[in-house]
Symmetry: D2
Subunit: 337 residues, 4 copies
């Protein structure tokens, strides 16, 4: 951490700051220039509150050199994390296809889709039981009943299930779920993150609509600080001024996160674009960029989906796409030695 | 609502759509052009799920003409909502000054600040007991103890208190709070919104970091749909590419919301800018633009604040600012007839 | 185009509007609802000034149904445009690799790089002679001399050259250039667009830092309206709040533009990310998403590049990447029937 | 400037870097930590190309401590710049009201508006002769004829004129204009900036749609580096995801720029919002926040304006607003001692 002091800092305040930092085991290198004095802080600076230091009268600016996250940081954990879910592994060179309906609507629907996507190569079933909807007048999901239908579909197909938890009060209902999804709108619901950090199921954290990589990784850090190391990151587009697509899918997150963290990275082209015809090319792009997996909406009757219909593929379209994705994943192994 | 159909829509599907809309009491005006057929839907379209219609194979685009919110909509509620809190009123031509520390740190601290800001003209005390912090390693607030200190400060000064609720499980602790604040990161925590909609305390909803006006009003609608009409909106800056200020304060929200809704509008220049020296000019700007009040951080020792120090004013600085703000508010009444 | 009228519009003004529209050959369908009257305008609405109509006292809102661009619109030109440049074709199923230094620094440098990238499979040479630099104190490019060095490199390798034109006063210098590049900062320099529209060389338009697809296509329309049909679009990232990468590369633009326009689409991962280690994965992602080509910075000594060094690949790294890109492009043909 | 080195930097490269910096008169303070070695560079670092240093293999990150602009920097020019235009002064505690039509349409129109706005208190006349329009099919302005009409209006009223220059080839036509405006789309048209820096008329630079404060000041620096010190900055809103308003007006720029630079700051609420009913409250907010002036569109018949009509005020509305603005400006002097 680098602390840039104002010109002619109050000597007494400077000594207090130095003493306080030394107390925390920080070593300080001072560099005195004409215009500025700069303190280089060396040691475990992730414990220092950058805002607190920036608040001091004598400080002009504070800049981090080290990342504020530790458990999620590849520097301290060089090996890729591979998350085991039932018989499938997320990360470690696998391509995980998570597919299923946006909303669980009925047992028949979710079982039929689960069978179809499994036949096409999906290794996990996704489906929403609790749905975050912008309008209180929109369908809010089947709730606990929806979770039951998902479990029936799992029993029929063997596919592990991933579904969104919206509030920590629902946690008891999720004890039989395979992967807990934290939605984009809850990425900084810190009480929820703490709660899922204190249980042992894998957690998939979607990137917030305007979250930076660092904030996203800090949300992972919340979960991991609670003891739960099985965290998956899921990019679903960020908000920009372009409104033709619902959000702007940021595929650069794949290589960037690969460098910053050891956690697996899943891409959701369905929510990112909001248009089903964009799912195919962007899913292919995500695999070529190095994604560990994809989260894709599949619906047997998009026209009657109770939510988010325009971004859902029909099972036969997903079938063609899944085959291409798996072939591309194999191809990529041949060119990336 | 306007539905633009694709060229040569399937006749059977079109008839189904029309029948379904008519069932919901919607009247349909059809306009057939060379390139497009357009359906004009008339009636209560706020109950229609726009995504569901857009999902249909025959539909190219759907555009809303009416707003999707009703309770929060000025068209259906032309009079300004005035929220009564203790002896003070928010909205209706008053200027409400909510001031206090970012975090409650001790009884002495919050009582001292409460007395100071009351003497300067503040009519409400703000202070965080539960703190949303980006890092799990940062101070998370005093929690329930912090709420107790706020109540002591209220008892000593008579100032009603506003403080942030982060999770619905904490709701029982808030029964003696005057106004419940929903933070920016929880603006779309829909379970939390429903929960505060089913209790009777006023709720102040901060705008999400990248929320549109419509999404913000839909969050108000969630609370109001539960029966709680006492909703206050608080702008705290939106995220842009400009990083000199923490966020970009959007003062245009004041006249825009004044037109769209009847709810009072509070501006928070402290969080929006993240720098204490920007609070004064932007608070003045907010009053001249027509804000119903301000939320301002005041700290008796910014250098030792446990969080968000750089944006806090010292009580003596707040005193000067409060006097200017009240004078400006009086002046504005003389020029706006 | 749909015109939503205010409630109880002034009858005289409405009649004037209708007469004016009819004069322009527009057919009007009127749909009268309880809250709103809606006019559906049918005909060539691209000639109507949407702002002018929105300005009318009786109008509440105007929404376009048809795109405002014609020459660039795939609806009116269903076949892909293939731009012929020397012996190479851009678009039409080819993968064009444009490679070279950010800035032309010397004849030796640009010739050496040109030879290297040609050997690796590049089909065009890029290089900046006139450089848009944020600071007046930064190197501004070699100018006319740089253009001469590029021509020497072309003579030595046969690679056609693409280079940026910054001002229309420089146009005479560009008469021996193969493709004129319009930089992101000049995407809405309308005089420059008109000028290159009135000459016959192909023009590659980079997307502005915060331009929408529609604005970008309108810039292409400016060039095409002047009679020059040979326009290439180049995505180089848009500005978002994420600052780890210089910009956010929007690969969704590829399938979206493929639908909206017939013009070829090139991706520039070097400028988009600003980091050389991100070029490889994003270039692969771009090809899998369907790009017609890539614009990649290659430098023989990145450490001494006079500008934009951090994003340049060394020739040997480019060599490995180019081979992978061409293999991936072949692979994609086998899976996309 | 702070240079953070990678772990175990190549010794030879480090020595080269240090030698190169010392050659440029930079003094270097080295701080060696466990994880990172940090170089603190002291001296005139504005001449250093930050990208060049960041490109070096041994460098992990470079951070500026000093601003990259000098002529525009308040640190090197503590006094406010006051720009003299005819009999009026911009900056230095004055409130400059620049008013007039978006587009010059006819001599009668612009003379009538000029007379009206002068009577209301405007001190400068604005009006577009060359118009940057997104569509090649929209009205592009009257050009040279429009400039003539503006001069007639100046003769009739004595109001100095400010109007936009779109291309440096038009510069000879502007020799009789009082203030040259550089539009938002040309903020980084560096050849244009250089050209207006080499002539002696005041230049008003509008902020680019997604420009940071620093980039905006670097554009001012381009003009000032050419010898022209009379630069005025004009905020006209930045692009965000909120689309209800055309752009998001960033009033925080006023106090921020006041600190960073000595140049006067004008606010344009008309273009920023795109809606005439938002001009009044935001203009008032701008004055209370400390703006040096306002740029306001006034049209005698908004319904027939050839461009940008929805944001223009009628003269009688401007009259009421101008009176309020001047009263508020006087009031502000009484409260800001």
């Amino acid at each position: 951490m680098i602390v840039v002091l104002k010109q002619n800092p109050n000597r007494h305040q400077l000594e207090s700051l130095i003493a306080w930092l030394q107390e925390k085991g920080i070593i300080i290198h001072t560099s005195i220039g004409e215009a500025h004095t700069i303190l280089g802080l060396v040691g475990d600076t992730s414990q220092l509150d950058i805002d607190l230091i920036a608040a001091l009268d004598i400080v002009e600016d504070v800049k981090r050199v080290q990342e504020p996250y530790k458990n999620a940081n590849r520097k301290f954990h060089p090996e890729d994390t591979v998350v085991q879910v039932g018989n499938t592994q997320i990360g470690g060179g696998n391509l995980t296809l998570m597919a299923g309906p946006c909303s669980v609507e009925s047992e028949e629907q979710v079982v039929a889709i689960a069978k179809a996507v499994k036949a096409s190569g999906a290794t996990m079933l996704r489906g929403g039981a609790f749905k975050p909807r912008t309008s209180p007048y929109s369908f809010q999901g089947l709730g606990a009943t929806g979770l039951e239908y998902l479990k029936v579909a799992r029993q029929e197909t063997g596919l592990p299930i991933v579904t969104e938890l919206m509030d920590l009060s629902q946690l008891p209902l999720f004890k039989d779920v395979d992967v807990i999804q934290i939605g984009a709108r809850n990425m900084q619901n810190f009480d929820l993150l703490k709660a899922v950090g204190h249980q042992d199921k894998p957690v998939m954290i979607k990137r917030g609509m305007s979250a930076t990589y660092e904030e996203w990784l800090m949300s992972a850090e919340y979960v991991m600080a609670g003891g739960n190391e099985n965290v998956i990151l899921c990019e679903r587009g960020i908000r920009t001024f372009e409104s033709y697509t619902r959000n702007t899918l940021d595929l650069a997150c794949i290589p960037v996160l690969r460098k910053l963290t050891h956690l697996p990275i899943i891409i959701d082209p369905s929510h990112a674009t909001g248009k089903s015809w964009l799912v195919d090319p962007l899913a292919m792009g995500a695999v070529a960029t190095g994604a560990d997996g994809l989260l894709i909406e599949v619906h047997n009757d998009p026209a009657h989906a109770l939510c988010d219909g325009p971004q859902s593929l029909k099972p036969e379209v997903f079938d063609g796409l899944a085959k291409k994705l798996l072939k591309l994943h194999d191809f990529m192994k041949t060119v990336e030695e």
